[in-house]
Amino acid sequence: MKNTKPMRKLGRGLAIGAAALALAGTAAQARDLTVASFGGTFQDAQRELFFKPFAEQTGKPLLEESWDSGYGVLQAKVRAGQPNWDVVQVEAEELALGCADGIYEPLDWEKLGGQDSYIPGGASDCGAGHIVWSVAIGYDGNRITGEGPQGWADFWDTEKFPGKRAMRKTVKYALEAALMADGVEPAEVYDVLATPEGVDRAFAKLDELKPDLIWWEAGAQPLSMLQTGDVVMSSVYNGRITGLNRSEGTNLKVVWPQSMYAVDSWVILAGAENAEAGMDFIAFTQSPERLSRIPEFVAYGLPVIAAAEMVPDELAVDLPTHPANLEVAIPLDVDFWTDNSEELTERFNAWIAQ
């Protein structure tokens, strides 16, 4: 949870000052390979699976950071010259934007076994797909004991499932969900959204549910809302649900039909000091043997085909990339969102503020 303190003028000034001093202090000595990921339980897993073993293998320390995603952060780092991170885990949109803007180094695909060894959408010139994760409906199996919701139409059905609902507070995922709730075929969601009428239709559908909606921003929030009963169902990150079920024995459920999946990738920031070591690090993490151990820690799917095949069945059923789950899900349309994110976010903020 960085960047979330109150932004007082003085505080900001001091922060800039401190950063400037820190920069001046460290510029003289070489920085060790620095990897930034999204924190939480997944970064704990990455530490065990990749960070520590890689540092041991190379005999050099590996620094880790965590961040909350956001293209502006990376762009500012590269723009300032000499970014202080080398390898970063990014979301699909950041990958597409940054690759077009040239803020990432091109990857050496010979070291990674070629782009063909990845699922479609998992490999690009700048990014190597690391995990596949889903946004899906989640609910507490101890509270809804009968048949649970089967898709977004049930999410909107407050008579069948009385109670508040929570959704991620971004226009992305909210509009898709609304259209699917309104009866649009999952495969046609983005065709409909591409028209102004489709966007109006999605907002109109959101209007229906607005009185019963709570919005969340951090991925841990919906879990506690579901557990306390503040909401009856919520959009969730699938990995968090499975993780909580394993660690605390809860009975939270993921609804796979009409879930939406996206790929997180490793990138190397342009001009990074340890770009070469970064490339070796990426190749190290992406070897099928190592990558295939991720589901033991967090239920994320794997974009490397050979790695996905090595996951034992009892773990594979909880992954977004399991054939039964993948079949009923839709991929997030990154091109649509890079084009429309800003305009639709403004409208979403205006809508939500009313």
């Binding site: 109150p6 502006g72 903020n349």
Partner: protein
């Protein structure tokens, strides 16, 4: 002061001046600059920017303009600068992201390809209009759109279509929430500070520690604690339902009440401490003197103690108000959708969409509003404040 000592005094002052310049003036100037400058297109597409001025805004621009546009794309070697152009254009007209990516690729391969063959969108007026609108290196578009305004085709300022932006609502809400929080802090902080100043020994130590301790805890932890206390199955609801005052849980979280409660708690020290320190300087026998002159305790309080603590109240109110207009994480965690404050919008532009100009413009508007309020406040509060 003689001539010799002046440079010396200046030298002594220089660390302070340097500090002010580096951490106050320079960031402020760069924010203002960022909010009004729009150099991307005129810098990366100079030929296009020069040619497109002559286009009347009907249909699509002439072949010369289109040729200049292709030349500019071929001549540019800086992908990051082109990224700025794309981001800027996409911000005016959704769809430029994919369009520019495709166009740059194709034009680099075949420099004299007709643009319309690359994508049908080059036949639409709106896309060319976006280039024309942004060709000037300076713009008021960000400042206008921070206030939900835009320039019409004829150049006149007009309101944005309803429902497309809500910055004005959110700015007003930010000021409103801040005012309520300030008032709540004052209502709790003033009596608290008075009691703390009037007791002595361990009682005073405990009361001051109770104010200071939360200051040493992370803001996030304090906010999270309020989430636990306020939620539907939280302590407050359990107690109230346990003793039978209410039968259904009160909704205390994810709404305005939750935001005000949590922010009041977080900011209370900034109200208590200034009032407390002012009250400490008030001689303890003043109230008894007033009483001995026949004043009723209420009258003595209103005429003696309250005016004397006014300076502390004013600095406390300013501190609380100024801090709360920048609040971000507390409203996000304990507030509902209609309690979000302007910082969250600024954060979206800065960290998510990398639209620094829009973030700067919103920040600038907030700063100007605050300064205006401060000036107003200063004027209103000048007379009753005892000045020495």
């Amino acid at each position: 002061m003689n001539r010799l000592s002046r440079p010396r005094a200046f030298l002594l002052m220089s660390p302070l001046l340097l500090f002010l310049g580096l951490f106050f003036v320079w960031p402020l100037v760069s924010v203002i600059w960022q909010a009004v400058s729009d150099p991307a297109i005129s810098r990366v597409l100079p030929r296009t920017a020069a040619e497109i001025g002559g286009w009347g805004g009907e249909g699509v621009p002439s072949d010369e303009v289109q040729a200049a546009f292709r030349e500019d794309i071929v001549a540019n070697t800086d992908d990051m600068a082109m990224g700025d152009v794309t981001r800027r254009l996409n911000s005016s007209q959704s769809g430029f992201r994919s369009l520019m990516g495709k166009t740059v690729r194709e034009v680099r391969e075949t420099p004299d390809i007709a643009l319309i063959e690359i994508d049908d969108r080059w036949g639409e007026t709106a896309f060319w209009k976006a280039i024309q609108d942004n060709a000037s290196p300076y713009t008021d578009a960000f400042l206008l759109s921070a206030l939900d305004l835009q320039r019409a085709g004829s150049g006149e300022i007009e309101a944005m279509p309803a429902g497309s932006s809500a910055n004005r609502t959110i700015i007003l809400r930010t000021l409103w929430i801040s005012a309520i929080v300030t008032l709540c802090c004052l209502l709790i902080g003033l009596p608290y500070a008075m009691i703390a100043a009037s007791v002595t020994g361990w009682k005073r130590a405990v009361m001051i520690a109770a104010v200071l301790l939360p200051l040493w805890t992370s803001l996030l932890v304090r906010t999270a604690a309020w989430m636990i206390i306020l939620q539907e199955s939280g302590i407050i609801n359990q107690v109230l339902m346990g003793i039978g005052i209410i039968s259904d849980p009160l909704v205390l979280i994810y709404n305005r009440a939750g935001v005000v409660i949590a922010m009041t708690h977080v900011l209370l020290p900034f109200m208590v401490l200034p009032i407390y320190s002012v009250l400490l300087t008030v001689p303890g026998n003043l109230m008894s003197a007033a009483a001995s002159l026949g004043a009723h305790p209420v009258r003595a309080f209103l005429r003696v103690l309250l005016p004397l603590s006014l300076r502390g109240m004013i600095s406390g109110m300013l501190l609380v108000f100024m801090s709360s207009i920048g609040y971000y994480i507390t409203p996000a965690l304990v507030g509902g959708a209609s309690d979000q404050m302007i910082s969250s919008v600024i954060a979206f532009y800065a960290t998510q969409s990398a639209n620094w100009s829009m973030a700067a413009a919103l920040g600038l508007i907030l700063l100007v509003l605050t300064l205006l309020l401060y000036a107003l406040y200063n004027r209103l509060s000048r007379d009753p404040v005892p000045t020495r």
